[in-house]
Every structure is written in C-alpha cells, then in structure tokens.
C-alpha cells in the first residue's frame, strides 16, 4: 500500500545532525581551531573574503570550518551574513601607491624605483610534495631585512608621466553597487570591476585564459603586481576630515595592453585593472585581463564574439553563489513538471503510433 512520504522535518533535522558529525570527523584527531584556519590556510581565507565581499579573516575562517572546507559554501555563508549588516557609510578610496608592499613585481621593466620584491610566493618553488610537512612541521625562519622606507610608485604612473599609457583621470562619480541595486546592462567599468572582483576565481581565470589563447586577445603585460596592506580611511562629517579606521591587505594588478592610436592620434598603451582582497594574485591578474577584454567598445576595438568580450555573459555568470544555487536546485523535486512532460510525450508517441497504424 502506498503511503505518501511524510516526515520532511525530521529528515532535515537528522541530516543536519549527521552533517555536524561528519564535519567534526574522527574524534581521535584534534579539532581544527578557527585561529589555525586563519593562520595556516590563509589563502583559502583570502579567497572567501574576496568572493564573499567581506573583509573579516576570522569570519572567513569560521565559514571555512563550518563549510568543511567547501570554499563556495563558505563564500555563501559570508555573503548571507554580510547582507544582514547595517551600512554605516562608505570609506574613502584606498591609495594603493601608499601600500606597505610584501610583494611587488613588474614584468615590463627589469628594475624600477621601489625594486622588484619577490615576497612570499609559490612562483619558484619546485612543486615537490614536502613530506616534512606531514610530520610535525619545523618552523623555518626566513631572513629579514629592515623595511624599506622608500616609496613604491606605480609603474603606471611612470608610463602615464610620458603619455605612454591612456590617462585614467580621477572621477567623482559614486560607483554603482550591485549589492544594493539590480544590475543594469550595459554597466559602467566600476560595476564590471565590482562584479569581477566578487566573481568566481575559476570562472574569471578561465575567461582570462581564453583571451590569452585568442578569444579576444589583448596582448597583456603585467605592468605591476603588488600585494600589501593599505590604510582604510573614512570621512567623519562631525570632524570634517578623514580618519584611519583600519587596514586591509589587497592584491593589485595593472596590465599594459595593446596600444591604440592612429596617424592623427599618437598611440598609447591601454590598461587592465585588478584589485582583490587579500593575497589573491591569480585572481587579480585574471581580473585585469577580463577587465581589459570587456573594454573593447570604449577603446574602439572590434567585437569578435569572444566570451570574455561579452559583458552580459561574463557579468551574469561570474557569481558562484548564484551559479551554484541554481545549478544545485535541479536536485529539488520537479516531479510536477516532469509529470506534465510525461503526459505530453506519451500523447505524442500515441499519435505517432496511430498514424503509423493507419498507414499500414
């Protein structure tokens, strides 16, 4: 005898309890602390902050723990939390020229003021599994040097001084905010940059890679990649001046791209820009390539049909919280619609059979 499925609520509660048990795993293994995640899985923390659009390493670490290391799930937790926070105001734009850099490289000049600073990078590590880490890891001490007092000017500013790169004058426009207003296309460059910096690292990486392989090629050089801490300041109306309210770590990438110009207009290089929370250089480089490829119209280039040139395609599909939700929703029951399709296909088949019989 058929009995309709009941007990959805108990099933959900039990599933949650089981999930919590699985999250903790083997009780014989020490529990992972949020502080450990924050300190030792810092690149995962950075990704969650960047795509979660909330600069809070402790909350990001907590989200990673709660999500059992599923970073998109952790990003979702942070996003859902962030929307409940009140908006107290907007900070002043951060000045990345004043960044206390831990890493700064330029691919376009051999040496330059401020120097090439390799910093804590995987770049020249040999990708050999380090079995020492499997044992109790020893703390390795890196050599230190006194902090350089010298300013680290932007490579772009140097090119700009000579008129070699398109000017990017300061504007007073209030940038659009896609978390507060529905996205309207075509969007401004600021809106696109916001969407990309929150966008899924894998998606942005693939889009950028596709431009390198010829789907909307922009001939990018990394003019400069810098990582470090910048001060965040806020205007306090009661005081009449800006005060520093904190410090955040950022990765900034500026690319120098194919020049534009004509017989009458002197040629200039063009720009791509990436700025991402935390030490997230793969994302920042990818972002600057995608930014540049989306600028084809304003730079008078041809639309070649490349996915990375297609603003609507990139912006509507970059968000992994949206994408994963909609992708995974197809596991929800759809039996009502499927029933409708079943009836239709049965009827169509019956009609085909009837026609065949009539013909025979």
């Amino acid at each position: 005898m058929y009995v309709a499925v009941k007990g959805g609520e108990r099933a959900i509660d039990n599933a949650h309890a089981w999930l919590a048990e699985e999250r903790r795993g083997d009780l014989g293994v020490a529990e992972l602390s949020v502080a450990q995640i924050r300190a030792q899985l810092s690149l995962a923390v950075n990704r969650v902050m960047a795509e979660g659009s909330l600069y809070d390493p402790d909350l990001a670490a907590l989200a990673i723990k709660q999500a059992r290391g599923d970073l998109i799930e952790a990003i979702f937790l942070i996003r859902a939390y962030r929307t409940t926070l009140p908006r107290l105001g907007a900070s002043c734009p951060v000045d990345t020229a004043e960044m206390a850099v831990i890493r700064r490289i330029s691919a376009t000049f051999k040496d330059l003021p401020g120097g090439q600073v390799l910093g804590p990078t995987f770049d020249y590590t040999h990708r050999l599994l380090d079995f020492k880490l499997a044992a109790e890891g020893e703390v390795s001490q890196a050599a230190t040097a006194p902090a350089a007092m010298e300013a680290v000017p932007h490579v772009m500013a140097m090119l700009d001084r000579d008129g070699m790169i398109e000017a990017e004058p300061l504007g007073n426009d209030v940038p659009a905010d896609l978390t507060r207003e529905p996205m309207e296309l075509p969007g401004s460059r600021a809106l696109r940059l916001q969407a990309i910096t929150r966008g899924d690292e894998g998606f942005i990486l693939s889009m950028a890679y596709s431009t390198q392989r010829g789907y909307g090629r922009t001939h990018a050089f990394v003019g400069e990649l810098r990582i470090g801490a910048v001060a965040v300041e806020m205007e306090i109306p009661e005081l009449g001046f800006a005060v520093e309210i904190g410090e955040i770590e950022l990765t900034e990438c500026e690319t120098v791209n194919q020049f534009k110009g004509s017989k009458t207009e002197p040629p200039q290089f063009t720009r791509g820009y990436g700025l991402v929370f935390g030490q997230t250089e793969r994302k920042a480089i990818a972002m600057s390539l995608v930014d540049r490829s989306l600028r084809w119209a304003e730079l008078g280039e041809d639309y070649t049909g490349a996915p990375a040139q297609d603003e609507e395609f990139v912006l509507m599909h970059a968000d992994n919280v949206q994408a994963t939700g909609f992708l995974e929703h197809i596991k929800l029951p759809h039996y009502v619609d499927f029933q409708s399709e079943l009836e239709l296909v049965r009827r169509l088949r019956a009609e085909v059979f009837a026609t065949q019989e009539a013909a025979e």
């Binding site: 962030r82 939700g325 992708l327």
Partner: protein
Amino acid sequence: MTDQAYNFAYLDEQTKRMIRRAILKGVAVPGYQVPFASREMPMPYGWGTGGVQVTAACLTPDDTLKVIDQGADDTTNAVSIRKFFQRTAGVAVTEATAEATLIQTRHRIPEAALTTGQILVYQVPIPEPLRFLEPRETETRKMHELEEYGLIHVKLYEDIARHGTIATSYAYPVKVEGRYVMDPSPIPKFDNPKLSNSPALQLFGAGREQRIYALPPFTHVVSLDFDDHPFEPSKAPHDCDLCGAGESYLDEVIIDDLGGRMFVCSDTDFCRTRCEAGHLGALGVPVLKGGA
C-alpha cells in the same frame, strides 16, 4: 517564538521597503518584471529566495502561512521555508489552503479556489518568458518594450509543425491584460487557467534574476495559442487513487518495478480534505474521522 537575533521576518527594514516598492510597481503594471536588488538569503539561489523575499516583505504577525512545493506541504524545501518563517516571523502556519492568508508555492497553484484577501507568492527560477529564445536581457527588455512577441509565437508554431501540437507542458507563457507576455513560473499548464481572474493577489519573486512581478486580483490572463490550436490544460487521464478526484492534477507514483503505478493528487491538502470527507479512490482506505 521568533528568533530575537534577527528582525521580524529576517530582512532589515530598508531591504523590505525596497522590495515593497518593487511589489507595488509590479501591481501597477501587471505582468511587467520589476528589477529589485535581491539580497543573498540564508538559503541558496534557485531554492526560493525570490519567493522568500517577497513573502518576508508581505508578512505581518497576524498572517497564517502555508508553504507548498510540487503542491505538497511536506516536501523538504517547503518544510524548510515554512520553518524559516516560523523561526524569524513567528507566524502561524497551516496546511489548509482555505485557512492561509499567504501561500508561498513552487510549481503549483492549489486546487481549492483562492479567495479575496489571500496572497499567492510564486518562487520563480527564470522570470523571462523569452529567455530561452533570446538569452540576452538587453534584447528581451527591448522586445517587451516594443511588444515584439513574434519570436515566442514562432516557437509555439514550430512545435505544431514538428509534433502536431504545442509541446510546452509547463511554464507555459501567458499574456497579461493584452500587454506583457509573462512566465507563470514552472507550473504545469493544467494550472494556467487559474491565473486569470483569481480573487487572490498573485506575486512572483525571482531572487537570483532580481525580478518581481504581479497579477492583481481579477486580472485577465490568457495562455498563448492559435485559433486552430487552442490552449488545452492537461493532466494524467486518471482519477486520484486515494481520494477519487477526477479534476485534480495528479502525480504518478511508481509502486513496483513491474510497471505498477498509481496516481495521486499533487495537492496534498486537497487530497487529505477529500479523504476526510469520505471520498475514496480505487486504492484508498477509508479515513477514520478523529483517528490518530
């Protein structure tokens, strides 16, 4: 009891005002999709975040809420959404369609006729009826502006050319008050006639796609068709095996691996109410009134 850590019905007041303004504009222009700044909700996009935001913006503490998915009150996502509002808004809940003041639904319109004062909130995955014909929002917006709906008629007509009939069985497009073509959400086309001239207010929320639209009560809604191929609502040609209903939408349940199946009402409240009133289907068992 409401969870004091969150505002009434979860959303902050500024977000509710934004959603409420969008709902009012949706009501003023029936069938037109109003963009709104959808928020991340504590459930995934695609799982009813649009419906949840519309419901949260509409609920008062005096409401009685019913949540259904596939017509059923006890499907897991319906249970989860109902629990969310019990926790964050402390509202009364019910499974009885007639007792509910606000019903959030996914994929069905209840069988029992709705009444004046009731609100039916639909969860919508893709609000744009032209989306699968034209993927670009910038293009479809223009098509709505210019009432350029030829493409969708061509699609339906191609169905007829290929299959001899319109091969759309759910999310069947409608025209509202002779102006906007609208996606009624993925309800089976069996439910389409209930969209028109309903005494209830119907609100549609698409969270991921950031759109809200509405059908005020007594709004004229027509399913698209052709003179020689008129729209036909359809259902399984059976009666409910539990309650014997002949006019309700049916789920097909596979009961063995030998081709055995039975048909039961998709609307669980409708079916239970009929069984309790003594109706009996071919495979039903009499309900003992007041029994456990």
